[in-house]
Symmetry: C2
Subunit: 349 residues, 2 copies
């Protein structure tokens, strides 16, 4: 990769500022957990797996700054750090998964000195980041088997290196197929309102030398109906036990159009995106973001002042539209309820 999404460097967290891409390639340095929380909320960093890494590193930063007389006070303050980080974005479950994992590590080291706990948390955060890269490569390896030679793959939003510690989930599948020597062409939905596709996916694919074509979201159906799309691959923010998948707004429409045109629709995500505690997608909280994301583009007004706006950031694609879910532990298709339980348990053993 020719960029780093997020890394722990000299006891600080460094992130590429995704609000400024593709125009500027700027790296921000964060030394306290509050500013990491703000970075997540303001989408300096975004993408479910990347948010999980950022939250974990935020906890490690928070732990470093805690001043406490007792272990009880230390852990109370650590809980507060996790609460602040947990209130940033509600939909991507990786955020909560990352926080839970950090809490478990703290708990396991409860009897040790503050500095030992801090060190364990820092190590765990860095481990989560490193593991994510391996996980994405495995997702890519599995997923690439589904992508035919010469395929034109439609993707929505950015489930790329920028949405993870690197390599990507949906773009990981595309990268792996490309690395395997397959001739792949990608259609990237621009993904309004935040334009992750136009700004981030197009940028990543150009850097990688993978043939990419940018379209508006509402053009995907046109190209599907003309037989120009071989398959669709997207990422996920949260997958319920029955396979219902929350992902960037517009994913549901892509899935419905794919089904209508008999085009395979794949979801690529790490096991950390599974939320088996939810029986189906109706329980996934959907974040609504500010109206200004719809009425303004890069600061320029595109709508009359005072117009009412709705801005759900995610939608839920029912499992019946999903041809397969690609995880680092294998491809799940058919009976998602048992298949997802199986791939989830692999990582625990």
């Amino acid at each position: 990769m020719s960029f780093r999404t997020i890394e722990w460097l000299d006891d600080a967290v460094v992130m590429i500022d995704q609000t400024r891409l593709p125009g500027e390639e700027v790296y921000n340095t964060y030394t306290d957990f509050q500013s990491v929380a703000e970075a997540i909320k303001g989408m300096i960093i975004r993408g479910a797996p990347a948010i999980g890494v950022a939250a974990a590193m935020g906890v490690a930063l928070g732990a470093r700054a805690i001043i406490a007389d007792t272990h009880e006070s230390f852990f109370r303050q650590l809980d507060n750090v996790c609460d602040v980080l947990g209130r940033t974005r509600p939909t991507a479950v990786n955020l909560f998964w990352g926080l839970e994992r950090m809490k478990r590590v703290a708990e396991a080291n409860r009897s040790k000195s503050f500095d030992k706990i801090r060190e364990a948390l820092k190590k765990e955060a860095i481990l989560i980041e490193q593991e994510d890269l391996t996980i994405c490569r495995n997702i890519g390896k599995w997923g690439a088997t589904l992508i035919p030679e010469g395929a034109t793959v439609l993707t929505h939003c950015n489930a790329g290196g920028l949405a993870t510690a690197g390599y990507g989930t949906a773009l990981g599948v595309i990268r792996a197929a490309h690395e395997a020597g397959k001739k792949i062409n990608v259609f990237a939905d621009e993904t309004r309102p935040w334009l992750q596709g136009a700004r981030l996916t197009a940028w990543e694919l150009m850097k990688e030398g993978i043939a990419a074509t940018l379209i508006s979201d509402n053009m995907a159906g046109f190209f599907m109906s003309r037989g120009e799309i071989t398959c669709c691959v997207v990422g996920a923010d949260r997958i319920a036990a029955n396979g219902d998948t929350a992902n960037k707004i517009g994913t549901y429409s892509v899935a419905v159009l794919a089904k209508e045109n008999n085009i395979p629709f794949y979801v690529a995500a790490p096991v950390s995106t599974l939320d088996l505690s939810l029986s189906d997608g109706s329980k996934i909280p959907i974040e609504e973001r500010p109206a200004s994301e719809v009425t303004h583009i890069r600061g320029v007004a595109i709508a009359p002042e005072g117009i009412r706006v709705r801005n759900p950031a995610f939608d839920v694609t029912p499992a019946r539209y999903i041809t397969a879910i690609i995880t680092e532990n294998g491809i799940v298709t058919g009976d998602y309820r048992s298949g997802l339980r199986k791939v989830a348990s692999f990582s625990c053993t």
Copy 2:
């Protein structure tokens, strides 16, 4: 209406500049046919019925400027005027319908003096504009019967007063329902890349005092799947003999999503939008517009330089997704082939 889309004023054509709405309400004056052709191509004026009016007025302007010794020369030059206007935009059939109607009037007056022919053409162009308003009101009257009290109506692009001589087709239906005292709420797709929904439909509905909510195109499916949309109403650029309908890019996706969610999907258009010479929608030419419309929004770059782009301006919705086609001569549903022939013949008798 609190604005005029296009009118003949003091031997010139005056149009509201739709590229500058909603920020600025500017009226441009055109005195030669070449600049009217440029205005159509540059989307100063857009919307199938409005383009038909503009083309007709362009012919009238062109005829005024012809210098000829013989009738043969006059008519040869008039043909050239029509050719230039006909090469502006390929998809909306109203453009060609308007030009054909003007040619017939010229032909019918062939034996008369140049000035008499010019006068007849001017009168016809003004008549087309005035008729369009009546036609839209009739579309509205028929269509309003399909809109239930308290309905939330989703529309795509702008098929409003700005797309016609006034009142609108899809928005004509909504206006008529509103005028009939029904409480209507409208969801307006922003309609990338040109943002007709965000810029024009939102502006028109706010001016009219009709409750409107602006969303990104990729959010329509979300609100349909949640049961928040009662029905969809859109305009049309060309309707083939079997009911297949070309309209603004993204319309096909709205129709597929509506069908998947059991929501009625209506097309509202004048008979002049019918092209019964085409057996089905596969024969409708689809305009592709410049890449910069996708990569830039109001002059601001939103994608990396050099990214490949596709920009089809229209798509075709197969008739099987269309619940009914609302014309000024009645509502067609079921067997479109015979129904459309019937409503088309009404206007010829």
